[in-house]
Symmetry: C2
Subunit: 839 residues, 2 copies
Amino acid sequence: MRELLGGKGANIAEMTRVLGAGVVPAGFTVTTEACVAYMGEGRFPDGLEDEVSAAMGRLERTAGKAFGDPEDPLLVSVRSGARESMPGMLDTVLNVGLNDHSVEGLAARTGNPRFAWDSYRRLVQMFGNVVEGVPGERFERAIKEAKADRGVVEDTDLDAEALRELVTEFQGFYSFPEEPAEQLRAGIRAVFDSWRGERAVAYRRLNRIPDSWGTAVNVQQMVFGNKGPTSGSGVAFSRDEVDGSPQPSGDFLPDAQGEDVVSGVRTPKDLAELAEWNPEVHEQLMTILRRLESHYGDMQDTEFTVEEGRLFMLQTRSAKRPAQAAVRFAVDAVSEGLLDRAEALATIDAASLAALLHPTFASADFEVLARGVAASPGAAKGEIVFTAKDAIDAAEDGREVILVRPFTEADDVAGFHAAKGILTSEGGKASHAALVARGMGRPAVTGASDVSVDLAKRTMTVGDVVLHEGDRIAIDGSTGALSTEDVPLVSPGVSEEFDCVLTWADELRTLGVRVNADTPEDAAKGIAFGAEGIGLCRTEHMFLGDRQPLMADVILADDDASRDAAIDRLRPLQEDDFEAILQAMDCRPVTVRLLDPPLHEFLPAPGSLPEGSPERARVAALQEANPMLGTRGVRLGILMPDLYRMQARALFAAARGVPGCVLEIMVPLVDYEREFELVRAAIDAVAAEEGVEADSYSVGTMIELPRACFLADKIAEKADFFSFGTNDLTQTGLGFSRDDIEGRVLARYIDVGVIDRSPFETIDAPGVGEMVRMGAWLGRTTKPDLKLGVCGEHGGDPDSIAFFNDSGIDYVSCSPYRVPIARVAAAQAAVRKLDQPAS
Amino acid sequence: MRELLGGKGANIAEMTRVLGAGVVPAGFTVTTEACVAYMGEGRFPDGLEDEVSAAMGRLERTAGKAFGDPEDPLLVSVRSGARESMPGMLDTVLNVGLNDHSVEGLAARTGNPRFAWDSYRRLVQMFGNVVEGVPGERFERAIKEAKADRGVVEDTDLDAEALRELVTEFQGFYSFPEEPAEQLRAGIRAVFDSWRGERAVAYRRLNRIPDSWGTAVNVQQMVFGNKGPTSGSGVAFSRDEVDGSPQPSGDFLPDAQGEDVVSGVRTPKDLAELAEWNPEVHEQLMTILRRLESHYGDMQDTEFTVEEGRLFMLQTRSAKRPAQAAVRFAVDAVSEGLLDRAEALATIDAASLAALLHPTFASADFEVLARGVAASPGAAKGEIVFTAKDAIDAAEDGREVILVRPFTEADDVAGFHAAKGILTSEGGKASHAALVARGMGRPAVTGASDVSVDLAKRTMTVGDVVLHEGDRIAIDGSTGALSTEDVPLVSPGVSEEFDCVLTWADELRTLGVRVNADTPEDAAKGIAFGAEGIGLCRTEHMFLGDRQPLMADVILADDDASRDAAIDRLRPLQEDDFEAILQAMDCRPVTVRLLDPPLHEFLPAPGSLPEGSPERARVAALQEANPMLGTRGVRLGILMPDLYRMQARALFAAARGVPGCVLEIMVPLVDYEREFELVRAAIDAVAAEEGVEADSYSVGTMIELPRACFLADKIAEKADFFSFGTNDLTQTGLGFSRDDIEGRVLARYIDVGVIDRSPFETIDAPGVGEMVRMGAWLGRTTKPDLKLGVCGEHGGDPDSIAFFNDSGIDYVSCSPYRVPIARVAAAQAAVRKLDQPAS
């Protein structure tokens, strides 16, 4: 019922069932449907007020008190509850139902005027802040002054009279409605409205929660932690929320309501102190935490209140936890018999595992130039660049850079991909730079306010130190530190527990996981992380750097003879490249993609060549209006067949040096079966010339164009395997040039609700995903055992992996650091698929 | 049986049935399958030689003569016969079966030694040329010398002795096989080989005949037109082959074999002279032509031989004819009762009708600077440019240019699109420039050898006249003339007969035909040619020229206020544009596409702005790596919503001024239903503000991205109509940037057999075509009566029109001059569809 009741509402209902009504205060839930209707029409949907009244009537009967009764008022909390927990992002109003009359009744009835006035003070303060938008500081300032006037330190030292005066002062800030029904109505409306508040929207972007869901509202009878020293409020996790170790952890404040615990006004006590304060309550809480954990099969995050020695549980939910805690919990839960392996795996957010795989500084023994906010974990080093474009250019040249900006905007996002890390002088943990960097797994330090960035001069200054574009810096997004020293980085190992989880994942998953690797180093890294082969070895990087002049000779050759000579000079180099990678993979399959990018990428910009020179003219003639859709991939292979023949020859020669290697040659950008046929014939001819046996290698194709998906049955007639290139398929299927669209346009699209995440991050299931399925299905109508892989970046994204798992794909391939994530995600997908009824 | 027997073989078989065996020489056909097998394996397929022997045996029994009999030899012709006629492109060997012995026997048996030796001379000459590759000139020279030696003029004046000497001389040129079976085998092989000859390949490219078909070989008993003055050979058309008028036409030569008629060695006589020469034969031929025409229901092109006063028909086929003849025949055939309207329409090659619609020079009263080959019909004028790129740039600036080159290559093809006409100094009617220009319907003059083109200096020189880049010239591709005068052009009218054909087409077709028009002039032209509405009115041209600075103000505005002001300045101009077009269309529907291209297209190149200027930086920031896949279409409309709102406001204001107008607003480049929804909501809001009734306009979308085809059911929920933008759908579906791919890559693809024509010319049915069908089908699952159009250039291509007709499309839209072609093609498609059994 989470969709209708929200997570909190559903959990309260279920918790009541598990723990009994005595432990959970009674209440009811206004559904998310009502919120959605309210958002659409700008007013409460018809009938809502009547239903709320009826529910309040039932609550009054359960409680034995009447809402607004001046003698013995029923008080309620009005709390948000979205389908997925959005802690602290939505609004809450407590103690609803009090007014100038009933506060006196409550004081008399409980014999505790301080409690009554404290509760009323809280209502008037919270209502003013949340419903009426009065800045919180005005209330805080008034409380501070009141304490100063009376020479006391803690809020709890303010007596009933002081609180009464505060209430009067607060009521001067705005017009407080005395009528309880009006308070309730306004409270519900405020919670609805908070769904569209700035904080909430930003949080949803980051966590990919659709705007359309809306929030439920939970109305619950108040229980009071502010009734004096035998009362209190707290939060408790069923296990340590940082490292996942088995002892429960949490915070607790005597004589307080829940918001005091999280607001930081007073320093909370930990659960050990709760045991001293009230051993019975502590014992009862421990029992409840165990019951809840065992009931939900997951680590719990709860809120509780102790009212005059009696424990009430206000809510419970699965605990958000960092990756190391998630892994620890999964392993412990299995050894404790709480969960089986599949269930334990399901409790892990696969994407979060990236945090365990970020490089870190090898030592803390370096001079810190400045500190900022630790906005996205991991350490990084590189040359300073000041624009996204420079970052992209540098990355294309194979240089490592840190993108430094005062702050970032949507237009800078393309630079995030290209940079090793991000540094901003402004903004905090929720700044654009922080959100985007975390989303992408890029280390980031934000809000380094000692750093002054001058974009015009292209300098960054810290005190006397002036750094220029191209100077090297190191940042640590886990600590916020920034240094000009060349601090060594270490790649993280895989912990014993993580390794255990990965072993289970391998037992459970059916989807293969390979690595995208162009170098022996990446290949080795992939194996270390558990890759079963290389799914994509790009050959274009092998023609850059020192070899670029050789490649330029090939492209700009005047005649066939000099072109052949230039190609011949490249061949032994390619052979060495391939041999090293095949060696590194130690008899695991290696899919090598023949040269793919447009030729001009290997040439200098025409503007950099002498005006009027024939070289410039020739380079200019190779420029294309839309290189993404231009002369590249197999088109190149057909226009310049000697290039592919050279690559095939180098591959066969390399394979000869590595007995037992499994060579898969992949032809990119195929549209027509005949394109593939021509290249395959050329490769087979080279093999025959070289005396290579026809069954010692296979030749397949990338499926990365919509047409290829429609004609996959034809293409499969000649191809040994398919690998879906979902990056290019997304670009062509959606008509999106990633470089041009991902920043400004997709950010706007997320804002206006066209999409909830970039289709380059998670596969666009109804569009591009269906193209993949069509290609897979048609390919298998021709060859039922056709091997199908995915080698786009989606191969490392858990949601996409689930989609591919359900689409009959044999393996995904992703960057080395995503391999463990893919293994876990693949296992989760396999388990979910088993759980689903066969269709 | 054309596929197996080839056109000639099938026609001979059928003609024998119609006219009786006495009129058609007996023979047999070696199938295209044998040719295909021969091409694949490089040798005759197993069993072929046995089958040929058996067939020869049957032919010997029918003829009562034996092949190779030294006394009375059976002679045969060995002729090609492709599925579609390729006149003159494939090889033939006649008089096969003669040798040094049997020639004497033939001389004795016929009592006509001259005839025997003439036949033998022909065999040895033809075999040497066709089979052995001896250059034809060597034989011609020897004949010329023999005539000179004997002081005679005509070949027929050479007597038996002279011919015997020639044979001996010819036999010295190569080793002639005396064995008749070997002659036959070599002849068949030579015909097969000629399928892959250069001429034949070039012809197939131009006429889109697949390389894979192969040719059949017809072996037929020889009949002899060279038996003296009562014999002869000729070709006859059942009607005038130039203008289509009803009297048969043709050429005839007494005492000759067929090749003499076409080779031009002797001047042939016309059919009137045939009537004088042998009235009975003439009468019989006229009767046969009528019978054949009535049997085949089409104008016939025949070959005949008269052997000693007896008429033999060697072959018949549908006559190739220019457009005016095709139209005339169709009209006459209906009035004669030969065909009904649908059948008559089917005899017209719709694509050829373009020739009737080319502009021509209004007068011949101008100075001709030079003459070249009339390579592609139509007249054109414009500024001289020397490179394809300059042509494209000029076209983008709205300038009209003539592309001038020494010769053209594949890389120049993109310039053909952009230029109004092509002029080359080299090459003839079959040059690359001529083939491509005719294929595209661009006027071209080739091989203007008096013109000297200097690409480095960018000049063309004719005698003393030196013309520079930018100077204006006029060319007439129908006459080969070239002038520097500003000769006025006239758009062709539609002849009475053409109009009649178009009227029938309108009766028969179910597919609507609209025009793509951005100006009132084009709109009027479209109506004149019979368009039923505007299917695509692009608005981007309205922002170029004088208005470019206004548009630049919009794009480069510093703030919202100045942007709004700039947009406000554009609005009245847009309103006038729209009102003029709506007026011109006189209550016919007008589909206006909102702004589509990327913004930088309206701005100067960044390089043209001062270095370091903020304007340059801003323009540079708008440049895109792949503008085709970038910030354009609806993406622009969502990023800069005021632009679309302005266009909507201008449209509604314009519509108010044109009572009864039918306004359809079209949103380009939609991927997601939500994109459309947002823009539609904005348009509807503008309509409401302007007091426009909601049912007085419709809002639909281009379907031009593969994703949109997959999600068409969703998009149809909000859209009133779809128009398939097949140009962009081809670009994204195939991953082809037309500008980058159409020249070099597609030309190579045609050469190596990947495709047989450009997918931008004729819809790629199995790929892009299936996407259209998927989009159409899904759209109609949501809205069964959803209106579906096609507005890509394919809308004017007959083959594509047939595909769309069969895909449930409601209308196509094309450029004004293609409208009549589309009407005819749509009618033909409708008739074909009716003739097909329901599936």
